[in-house]
């Protein structure tokens, strides 16, 4: 039995009938319409030091319908309790667009040919078949390893899995069916003592790490071994020296680079921000539409791409949420801005290329520009040890502790959970409370080298955007990179 044989919407033909009923409701009265019918089920198991285990599974099914009438958008979303709810959503979307007729600037989408297809996440073991006892035995083992030192005051461990049937139809004739599956794990340790509180996390400091994969994904994380390590590191940080202030050369580890990509590259390149659509909430960008093709964003060592066709990441898919087929697009090519993360609406208004980044949080929210799998291409810097050797004296840092950046994605300040003094290319003392700051193009312009593909890791993230706020689920990948003359100790 396939991991995708579950729920009410595993059958593409049945889903297509519901989508067709929504589009039939507005047939002849719209310039364009699309409908997304989604069934989602998410499993989360947590264990916490000193608390009972937490176990939850959440299921929802619904439809979101978007229409374009007289150049004005309309959108409505409804849970799907009965077949008729699809038509109800379509009528509400139509009403909201009609009410705006003639009220503002019109948008028109360039017509395109229908694109249809089916996509499935490749998975080994279905995480939803793993029994409760097995999951919690694992969590207990991780928690036990992480909390072995007495100064560990709090710890939590978790596993998560999500499966989705995502069906799409448009009045252009596209019919798409995607069946997605993801699995992840998290561990967070807090140590207290010596007048301080410190934390360590693994395998990602932000809600753990999640990949498009089955249960087998966890085996590669070596959670128990790393739980013991981060527990000891959290305690060691309590008495570690403070990281210094000033300027220094720094090798930034893959996790922290992934967060840097997210905040200063991914968000800065979202075309809806660039055009001002998000000015009231998520912010704008220091990059303008006119900068595409010419702005120097970083050094020659910096190539950042969007590629949802890479399998196995939280940003992997075959079609975005308005039906655009996935493809690789170089966003930054050897330091120069070449593309943005765009939707059909934003691409049409700006004249820039459509890169297939329209994404939404399930059926209830409008597709907006979100990152896909956006990553820093590995470079010729070799292994992490070779990169440290190239740096000579400086610091090696990793795992994000705090992050803040201005609304144009220009002025940032980040902190990391760990930092190591590096002398003569060798790691030395553990330091705490490391922070660094900078201005986005200057920062990326100071990247001298990026480690090779053997050091590359991908990290799944949730991300918030839009009004009302919705979540995007995406991925960033990176190898460690060497940055010269970074301003450190800014917090």
């Amino acid at each position: 039995m396939s991991s995708h044989d579950w729920g009410a919407l595993s059958d593409d033909a049945a889903a297509r009938a519901i989508l067709d009923s929504a589009l039939d409701t507005v047939d002849g009265r719209v310039e364009y319409a699309d409908a997304r019918l989604i069934e989602c089920e998410e499993l989360r198991s947590y264990a916490q030091l000193g608390a009972d285990p937490d176990e939850r599974i959440e299921q929802n099914i619904g439809i979101g319908v978007r229409v374009l009438v007289d150049g004005q958008w309309g959108f409505a979303a409804r849970p799907l309790a009965a077949h008729a709810d699809a038509a109800t959503a379509a009528r509400s979307a139509l009403a909201s667009a009609v009410a705006l007729a003639g009220s503002g600037r019109r948008v028109s989408l360039p017509p395109r040919e229908a694109v249809s297809g089916r996509y499935e996440t490749e998975a080994g073991q279905d995480p939803f078949t793993v029994d409760t006892a097995t999951r919690h035995d694992l969590l207990a083992a991780w928690l036990g390893a992480a909390s072995a030192p007495a100064e560990v005051a709090a710890a939590q461990a978790g596993v998560n899995a999500k499966r989705q049937h995502r069906h799409f139809a448009s009045t252009e004739g596209s019919r798409q069916h995607q069946h997605l599956l993801e699995t992840g794990a998290m561990l967070m340790v807090t140590a207290a003592g010596h007048g301080d509180v410190q934390r360590r996390s693994y395998p990602n400091s932000f809600h753990g790490n999640t990949a498009a994969a089955g249960w087998e994904y966890l085996a590669g994380l070596a959670m128990r071994e790393n739980a013991a390590r981060v527990g000891e590191e959290a305690v060691a940080l309590l008495t570690a020296p403070l990281a210094p202030r000033g300027h220094a050369d720094v090798v930034i580890g893959a996790q922290q680079v992934s967060l840097q990509i997210h905040e200063s590259a991914g968000h800065a390149l979202e075309l809806d921000r660039i055009l001002g659509d998000e000015a009231n909430y998520a912010g704008t960008s220091f990059i303008t539409a006119g900068d595409v093709g010419s702005l120097r964003y970083g050094s020659d060592a910096v190539t950042i791409a969007s590629d949802p066709t890479v399998p196995g990441t939280r940003g992997s898919f075959a079609f975005d949420d308005e039906g655009t087929p996935a493809r690789r697009a170089a966003l930054i090519d050897r330091g120069i801005v070449r593309n943005t993360l765009s939707t059909r609406d934003s691409a049409a208004r700006s004249g820039l290329a459509l890169t297939g980044a329209a994404r939404s949080d399930g059926w209830a929210y409008l597709p907006v520009c979100f990152s896909t799998h956006v990553y820093l291409e590995p470079g010729d810097g070799g292994s992490l040890d070779e990169l440290l050797d190239r740096m000579g004296d400086g610091y090696y840092i990793d795992d994000n502790r705090s992050w803040s950046i201005d609304n144009q994605r220009l002025n940032f300040q980040f902190g990391t959970e760990v930092a190591y003094e590096v002398r003569g290319g060798r790691r030395g003392r553990l330091l705490k409370n490391f922070s660094y700051g900078g201005v986005t193009p200057q920062f990326w312009g100071s990247v001298e080298a990026v480690a090779g593909p053997e050091e590359f890791r991908a990290f799944g993230y949730p991300c918030g955007k839009g009004e009302p706020k919705q979540w995007g689920f995406l991925s960033h990948g990176a190898s460690p990179m060497l940055v010269r003359d970074l301003r450190i100790g800014v917090a």
């Binding site: 599974i57 659509d277 000015a279 201005d406």
Partner: protein, 459 residues
């Protein structure tokens, strides 16, 4: 457009949930409905670019077997029986794994929830036509001022119902109006946000006009000098600082782990005597609701009273760990463990107008809003972020030149310790990632607020 109907028809709902909660295979069952029918008119670039009409419902079932709990949620009433069965099976699996060792999970006992006024007809009347008209007027006014406007006007009907097998049965239907606007005129910007159960309380037209006027006045910004400044924080900036109190130890989770202010410094004075902050479900401001997701009636929880550390907010689990009774603050955020949160944090107003607070400053900075604030150090409640939008120099007791956004890193507790003036007017804003969460604050005047990166001397 919808007719502003409840997400789930209330007639017979509690009885239906009670029937489902009477599951024969669990020791206790709790069912929580969270529903929201929201309409949002979002505008930017001279058009309403995202009109949205969204109905969401979630029925979350928590089953308890031998003190072990598990949850299963479904989006529709038709899936409820299956959710009860799944939650019960998962709870039993946890109990079996424990091999006879009972867990500590319970459900709430019946109790009366505080009466709160939740319905306002003016919000029901704030329909799509009214919002589109307001958006059009706003965009035209900004254009007439030589700039542009981006924002969102919305109304929602929030529904919560909690029923359990111990006899708890609560239901609430609450209106919510939200207005938010960023006006831009050349390099001048200003931001406004407010929310209330009543649309009339937003004073929409006046708020829009004031925001555009501030953007006009904000043109020609100069940098904020690095260093420590006397500041007057507008209500939005002040409210954002208050959201970090939980990180400083006012959460039952931290208190149970013996971390933070409540665990370490309860009863001690850590802020100015002018600072009184509570989570208050009985307030007539913000987003009050009388009970939490576990069906526990909420009570006013004093966090800081005249600067003295009070209590932490708790849910059933953290209250049990602390040996107290739940304060009614159960919450489950997405992708996180269930954690109690302050969902309607309110700071007491003072008696000064904002102009009077400014008049008491010889030289300082007025900060309208903070942006992207993050905790840097839990022990000192130090956060970092940037100031933005309608910020001005204060010189000789009045606002003078506009200033650009600037990076700051400062301790929330240090700032609250310096507060010597509190405004009389308050505004509310949503709390990120908290269902039906709001924080309400007045303007605050304080001293020694640090802009710019840390210096070597401060290390």
């Amino acid at each position: 457009m919808t007719s502003f109907a409840p997400p789930v028809a209330p007639d017979g709902l509690l009885a239906q949930l009670a029937s489902a909660a009477a599951a024969p295979n669990a020791d206790a069952v709790e069912i929580t409905l969270l529903g929201r029918a929201g309409e949002y008119t979002r505008f930017a670039g001279g058009r309403v670019h995202q009109p949205q009409d969204i109905l969401e419902t979630q029925f979350s079932v928590r089953a308890v077997v031998d003190g072990h709990a598990a949850r299963a949620a479904t989006g529709t009433l038709s899936g409820l029986d299956q959710a009860v069965a799944r939650a019960t099976a998962a709870a039993r699996a946890l109990a079996d794994r424990a091999r006879g060792k009972a867990g500590s999970a319970t459900v709430a006992m019946p109790a009366v929830a505080p009466e709160v006024v939740l319905w306002h007809d003016d919000t029901a009347a704030f329909d799509g036509g009214a919002r589109a008209t307001a958006a059009g007027r706003t965009m035209r006014a900004a254009a007439d001022a030589g700039g542009g406007a981006a924002g969102m006007f919305g109304r929602a009907l929030t529904q919560i119902a909690v029923v359990n097998s111990a006899g708890v049965a609560h239901h609430a239907l609450a209106t919510e109006a939200l207005g938010t606007l960023t006006a831009t005129v050349a390099d001048g910007t200003s931001h406004w946000i407010d929310l209330h159960r009543s649309a009339g309380a937003l004073d929409l037209a006046a708020s829009v006009d004031r925001t555009i006027a501030e953007a006009v006045a904000g043109q020609g910004r100069r940098p904020v000098p690095d260093g420590r400044h006397t500041v007057v924080l507008g209500p939005q900036a002040a409210g954002e600082l208050l959201t970090f109190l939980e990180d400083a130890g006012f959460s039952g989770e931290l208190a149970a782990a013996h971390v933070g202010l409540v665990a370490q410094r309860a009863g001690q004075k850590v802020a100015s005597s002018l600072v009184t902050v509570a989570d208050d479900a009985t307030a007539t401001i913000g987003l009050p609701i009388g009970f939490d997701m576990e069906g526990t009636p909420k009570r006013r929880v004093p966090l800081l009273t005249a600067g003295v550390v009070g209590e932490a907010v708790t849910n059933l689990a953290t209250a049990a760990a602390l040996g107290t009774r739940s304060t009614g603050h159960a919450h489950i955020a997405r992708e996180e463990v269930p954690t109690p949160v302050a969902a309607n944090m309110v700071m007491d107003a003072g008696d000064a107008t904002e102009a009077e607070l400014i008049a008491g400053v010889e030289r300082g900075i007025y900060v309208q809003r903070f942006w992207y604030t993050r905790l840097v150090d839990r022990v000192t409640a130090t956060i970092t972020g940037v100031s933005r939008d309608g910020c001005f120099l204060i010189e000789d007791g009045r606002l003078t030149a506009p200033v650009a956004g600037a990076r700051f890193t400062h301790s929330v507790l240090d700032f609250l310790g310096t507060v010597d003036g509190v405004g009389s007017a308050r505004r509310s804003q949503p709390v990120m990632n908290v269902w039906n969460g709001a924080v309400t604050a007045p303007a605050l005047r304080g001293h020694g607020f640090r802009f710019g990166a840390a210096t070597v001397e401060e290390s």
